[in-house]
Symmetry: C2
Subunit: 414 residues, 2 copies
Amino acid sequence: MTETDWGALAQHWLDRLAACSEPGHGVTRLPFTPEHRAALAVLTELMEQAGLAVHLDAAGTLIGRLEGPEDRPALLMGSHQDSVREGGAYDGIMGVVLPVLALMKLRQKGLTLPFPVEVLAFADEEGVRFPTALMGPRALAGTFDMAALGLRDHNGIPLRRAMEDFGLNPDALPGLRRDASQVLGWVEIHLEQGPVLEMAAQDIGIVTSICGIERHMINLTGKAAHAGTMPMHLRRDALAGAAELTLAAETLARETDGLLATVGTLQVRPGAVNAVPGEATLTLEIRAPDDALREQAGVTLTQAAHEIASRRGLGLVTARTYVQPATPCSPQIIECLSKSVAAGNREEPQQLASGATHDSSAMAALCPVGMLFTACREGVSHHPDEHVPAAVMSSGIKALERYLMQLQTSASHL
Amino acid sequence: MTETDWGALAQHWLDRLAACSEPGHGVTRLPFTPEHRAALAVLTELMEQAGLAVHLDAAGTLIGRLEGPEDRPALLMGSHQDSVREGGAYDGIMGVVLPVLALMKLRQKGLTLPFPVEVLAFADEEGVRFPTALMGPRALAGTFDMAALGLRDHNGIPLRRAMEDFGLNPDALPGLRRDASQVLGWVEIHLEQGPVLEMAAQDIGIVTSICGIERHMINLTGKAAHAGTMPMHLRRDALAGAAELTLAAETLARETDGLLATVGTLQVRPGAVNAVPGEATLTLEIRAPDDALREQAGVTLTQAAHEIASRRGLGLVTARTYVQPATPCSPQIIECLSKSVAAGNREEPQQLASGATHDSSAMAALCPVGMLFTACREGVSHHPDEHVPAAVMSSGIKALERYLMQLQTSASHL
């Protein structure tokens, strides 16, 4: 096959997998459902064509293993099989198909690797069906909380029951924990879900870190008043204060490399055309590849909220409601992936942080992790229009193939 | 009676009138209801004590007339009897009680006026029961639209039927129109509904104009995006644009004497903690005592919206949804009222615009109008806590008394 054919082959398998979906727009494939079962059958067929030994673990993770020397630790690759509701045909599942095809390519060239490789298709990364996610990688890392088995889906079915109905034994989950010494590392390829690579006209980018996230609830209280009888200089307008804070967050993030800050919700009370707003409540989300940078931004914007409230005579309540630390990618994997991508490029591959969470976030508790991003059309994801061109997938397969070959010569340059 | 006693007497009558209310917090007295009927009985008793001839016109306006020379045009004074739901004991009704007491005071001093005076208690200024208001003054000015008789209240009762059940003949409304040559002018005293006079430690202020109002609906559309994967410099954040416009409106109004600008409502879509807002819809209300000033502000802020939208790559739809011109008070009445108030003050009385609409707005279609504002506690109105101290009402009665005496010597200085 030509290089182009490998991209087309990836698209062929992804089309078959996209058909494993609830009816409706786009792809809806939730964990431990008939659609999940159908996808496992397609993935098994693909993995077996690539010469992998396939089995399903107790977390519903489909594992295709290419055996190597018995005493060598394995390289783990993969991503998740599930989609959001009415999502696309690439998010997650492409990260299972591309490494399998890279292994198939090496096999066709008659190359063998001096270490085992496993490609994993985790059951649930999106967390759409149950109010939990990442069970597969957490089980491997030994960080899965068994209490989550009691969480229920929209129909009241507990996770434990859904797994049992799927033929799995949840009580075996603790036994999935891997010995870190038996794992070389984890490499995931995923679509970017943003416009950076497409705008830079690059097929493949190197992820430096998965951003940490913190969320704040900010409530400003002024004094509701008649918009006709309350003079401007005596107003305590909660919305005007919220507007200042919204722009302060935007300005700080624009001026700070790597920082993202978003005011995504804002409610105003009393909310009448002729009433000065007496109360405004907003959410502020901050993401950064570096925890210190994020923490500092949180402090800076909380201070800004206090300054604004004080100057405007507003009451202020702030609460940091959520914190998730950043996951830095392994410098060794970054370097090795960079060389693998650069070999096919006229220019240096773009390095970028991942603003979204991935299976890699949980795998980092087990081993060094690395990620490649593929460009995606117009940055769209979690939508039926989600698309990764075949040529981009071809570049992805080639980069993974080169990465495996580099490791072949020196597994220390993981 | 001492001057203080007159304020206490006003409070006495206002207490009796406050009892003419639906059960519950504060005062709820809607037009053409048993509570309205009870208030008319109290007002009739008060007016008759002051020597006025009382009758109810076809619009439900209670009119107490002090006869003067038959061929002289009459001075009209008064305000409205109705309240909002769970409102206060002063809004409107105080403007009926105080001029009656001023006439009572003149009568007790044995003074007569060389012109007739009528004190009017209009049925409905607040527009709470029916989606219309100001029927009483509009009938006098000949601007009442008979089609409004078909409008229904919350229980489906048409205005016409409510009036008929109250014993009124709506078909006689056109006949209420006054001949402008038979009216000297209209003078209304009303609580400020704002904090200006109280903060200036003045009992009584002179209204220069009733502000015109315009309202705009402004819709900004950007692109909803994942707050983690969309870089800051590529965002088209509709809320950030709305925040800029909110602050632009506030800044313009703060820097422009007499101008009020309020963003009272703001909705954000999709409205998720981790989503860059793709759409923001806000209302902008502008008030000014001068129509040219208000129109200019509307143009300036619409231009600002276009500039913000253009710079941020946002779609913009703006619509001016409501316009109500300003009602300037008569310079002659302003001058004469100013002298009347100044005579009791150590300093010049404060002149201020009324941001709220009043019966005077509709009376201006018939004759020159003027208004006095009384201070009110903490600027509160439309609330059970609404309060005008007896001493302030005493100052109001005195100002009205002096005004009538000035007119006595020269009706040309109306």
